[in-house]
Amino acid sequence: MSILVILEQREGNWHRMSFETLAAAGRIGRDLSLPVSAAVAGKEVAGLAGSLSGPKLEKIYAVEHALLEPYTPDGCTKALEQLIRHAGPALVLLPHTYRVRDFAPKLATRFERVLVSDVVAHKIEEGRPVFVRQLFQGKLNADVRFTTPAPNFASIQAGAYRADAEGERGAPVETFRPELSESDIRTQPKDLFRESQQGVDLSSAGMIVSVGRGIRERANIAIVEQLAKELGAELAASRPICDNGWLPMERQVGSSGQTVAPKLYVAVGISGAIQHLVGMKGSKTIVAINKDPEAPIFEVADYGIVGDLFEVVPALVDELRKAKA
């Protein structure tokens, strides 16, 4: 029995969350005294597999087939199903990427299992893993455990485990060739594209003032814009604001927008759903202004103001002016 980590690559480049999931597997493996293996799927991936470094691995499976590129949920699921039946792991760990969200529930269903998705931590109780995951957009945590025998499936949230800076290399690579035919694949993916040239590079901004749902109306954004101006900060937003068209998509921070790490990040009226947090929690100093004292944004904030943004933000602008004078 072992832990099998499914790594993600696109065009020969590793998805960074692959390394975080390897680190998670290394720690869970140590805690449960289970060896760790890894697998990567694609057209020709043995070379990439051989270059991997991380926790000590028993084996790296290079799952190779021409039909695995471009990615499709049908092809990926069928290939990994065969690999898992071949390798017989106790636990399959995956990075909780958009791609994993697309195929892993299907894969787990092939084994009549439920994927425990978006895991943020683990602990061991009576020799069995208990996984911590978030409920209600991060307002509550839950400890969950499997009641089913191997194989079980879990996916790891971005940023939940720190990738190892250095690690071991040279685990043996085993090429695994799944049986796939063109008729297995029902969807036709086209090329990837971006909507517009991203005119605003928020990732290089020193300070960011970001606005969320709490602003209520488009016209109110001017209040927050004023604060950004006073600070000399870039204006950004959480997803719902951009969805409403109140600010352009290129100003969105979060998993579907930009990832930022300024020295100051001021979150105004943002509750802090995980999709937003993953895009900004690396900021050096985080300020949260929100009326809900239980908003998850306060979990990552250095300074919090529980209050009405329509009072606090103008007061803040006044104080900043005073400080400058």
Partner: protein, 256 residues
């Protein structure tokens, strides 16, 4: 086109949540409930397709009696009829069990398209749609922002990470999970609310569908998350907190 939209009723977005007596779920007694937001977008997507191409929109929801209010709301917004699988204790059903329950009611309808939100705002597993596709034997795509109907197939725009997108084509019948912000949500009109009263709601039970609960994943405990950072909460009036914050940013964090 016959479109089935799966929707879940969840606690309202701004609810103050408390752990219930069992410690394994929240106390639901004083909560208001609403349609899970991504599912509301799935309904909107379904209604827009019907307006453009004709056909029927059927909503399906599994949940306790209170979920009937969300089913009515969907009918008032324009869905043609509904299936409500009444289940007083949704906690007995894991993702696979719940998807089996839904699949057994959806399959006999022989839909052209099944839509769900990409995830629920309560459990947030983000899997029901994909598992349903597998159980129904349909191709699927997730996190969808646009749907274009072609002849016997569809072309969709899928959202990827870091601002990337991709178009995908697939034959019908198919299943899509819809991203929030797909389009503006409509409100129910007075006429819609009136009409909804006469629309068909078929009530089914798990027993009638021949499905039995399963719990391959068990919640042991729910609790408030521990803070990963030492947060200093600044107290006082708006003016006082603003002054304190500026002072901290200048002399504490030294970012100003």
């Amino acid at each position: 086109m016959k479109i089935i939209v799966g929707l879940k009723q969840v606690p309202a977005r701004d609810s103050l949540l408390r752990t219930g007596a069992s410690g394994r779920w929240i106390d639901e007694s004083d909560l208001a409930f609403e349609i899970n937001e991504p599912d509301a977008y799935a309904l909107e997507a379904g209604l827009q397709l019907k307006e453009k191409h004709g056909g029927e929109v059927v909503v399906i929801s599994a949940g306790p009696a209170r979920a009937a209010a969300s089913v009515r709301e969907a009918l008032a917004k324009g869905a043609d009829r509904a299936i409500h699988i009444e289940e007083e204790d949704p906690g007995r059903w894991d993702t696979l069990g719940a998807a089996r329950l839904l699949a057994s009611a959806i399959a006999p309808e022989k839909p052209d398209l099944v839509l769900t939100g990409l995830q629920s705002d309560d459990l947030g597993y983000g899997q029901t749609g994909v598992v349903l596709a597998e159980l129904l034997g349909m191709p699927h795509a997730t996190i969808i922002m646009e749907i274009e109907k072609l002849d016997g197939s569809i072309r969709v725009k899928r959202e990827l990470e870091d601002g990337w997108f991709q178009h995908i084509e697939m034959p019908l019948p198919a299943l899509l999970t819809i991203q929030s912000g797909f389009s503006k949500l409509r409100y129910a009109t007075l006429m819609g609310i009136k009409k909804a009263r006469t629309k068909e709601v078929r009530r089914l039970t798990a027993t009638e569908l021949g499905a039995s609960p399963s719990a391959s994943v068990e919640i042991e405990r729910v609790y408030l998350p521990q803070k990963s950072k030492q947060t200093e909460i600044l107290d006082g009036s708006a003016k006082e907190t603003a002054a304190k914050l500026v002072e901290r940013l200048r002399f504490g964090a030294r970012v100003l």
